[in-house]
Symmetry: C2
DNA sequence: TATACCATACTTGTATACAAGTGCACCATA
DNA sequence: TATGGTGCACTTGTATACAAGTATGGTATA
């Protein structure tokens, strides 16, 4: 597992959680990998207690499977889980952007505008690696504008199921049409144009279409069934 | 806190989680109550470790607030949390019942039919206390039919925010029109009539309309803001 | 050689001890 | 009396020890 250093005020549990999420999402911890509390706590230089609390939390989100007295494992990719996460993302994103159209304020516009402007800047400079983080922030900001930020947070762990499969795509969508999508979404929200906003969300999510068969043929050992 | 005995195979952590959820939902543990890990672990006759794991999980769902080195408290009723839970329930219930119309099978019909028949039986016999449990089961079964049972489970803890406010209503909806709602929903699903099904869900959830002002006037000390 | 068995080295689950920080009550002092 | 300080009894966070179950590999035996 790849580890970095603990933030100053960060608790050992939050540190473990952050490291585990990053490594699962990036597939550094591969689906099916056996993990042991002793081994990981040593790697992170923390004791078993806070590490275990993090593992238990991820097990609740089905990202880790715990078999008592046998071992714990990074969950295999479960198409049903991926589908449920995808379904949930689609219905909440669409409902939330509609609400955002109702709740948008000048401050909200400024928040989204700053983000999109940065995306456009980095895109024009070819600094595309900065865009992923801004992408996530943009979506979160829409939830904030719609006053649904708890929902975003509650769902974020579950979305790892969806996102790690995207990371497995042989050719991740490296064309950055998403930046144009975000600009269009922002304009729709400014115009309080719900219909267009919802269409844009669906189009946007459609870009993340994944070809399960192709991924499975490359990495059959990562899949559950 | 009200405690019962641990199930045979139940882990101490799951036992603590079950007890905490029940007591928070029933308002036996009142909003704002200070809880201490030592005190509760003694009450449940388990050690701090598994109890703490349960508390941490509920803190993630904002049902408990932990202030390090100061204390932990049952979260006050936060209208924003209640609204987000309500919003989430509405959009997922409607999307899921639409999916159920597509995915319904003979087994699914049997599952729902058995449940509704029991509800109707208990209602005719006046054994209305049995209906609450069946109500929850019915909704869960719709998620199962739609193959979205993980979403139901992920959301269930969050819905406690919504449900405990319902329990505070001076006159909880004791009329059992909900049984008729369930019968109508089942028929709509059997007919694959999505439009009617969605209308029924919205009508059904409308019955749980809560009068925040009224509750707040009775128990202002339970509210956050 | 094949098989049954047993020690051993793991695993997670739980209990307990210790660390560090907070707040309050009490007491001394001005 | 009012005020400031100090110790103590709490809190949660973390580390560690122990309990109980599982799998595996080696060994003795048929």
């Amino acid at each position: 597992m790849i580890t970095d250093t603990k933030y100053p005020r960060e608790t050992a549990r939050d540190y473990a959680l952050r490291m585990l999420k990053e490594n699962i999402l990036s597939l550094e911890l591969k689906p099916g990998t056996a993990i042991s509390e002793n081994e990981l706590s040593a790697a992170l230089k923390i004791s078993r207690t806070p590490l275990r609390e993090a593992i238990v939390e991820l097990a609740k989100a089905y990202l880790i499977e715990i078999y008592p007295q046998k071992g714990s494992f990074i969950s295999l990719i479960d198409p049903k889980m991926v589908e449920e996460a995808r379904f949930l993302r689609r219905i909440t994103d669409t409902a939330v952007i509609e609400t955002a159209c109702d709740e948008i304020t000048d401050e909200g516009i400024a928040l989204l505008e700053d983000n999109v402007a940065l995306q456009e800047y980095y895109l024009s400079k070819g600094m595309t690696d900065k865009i992923f983080e801004l992408d996530n922030q943009f979506h979160k900001s829409i939830y904030v504008v719609a006053k649904k930020d708890i929902i975003y947070e509650i769902h974020s762990t579950l979305m790892i199921h969806f996102d790690r499969v995207r990371n497995l795509s042989v050719e991740t969508v490296k064309d950055f049409k998403v930046v144009g999508d975000h600009r269009a979404m922002l304009e729709a929200i400014k115009n309080k144009d719900k219909k267009t906003a919802v269409e844009l969300v669906n189009k946007h999510l459609g870009r993340y279409q994944i070809d399960e068969k192709e991924i499975r043929s490359h990495r059959p050992e990562y899949f559950k069934a």
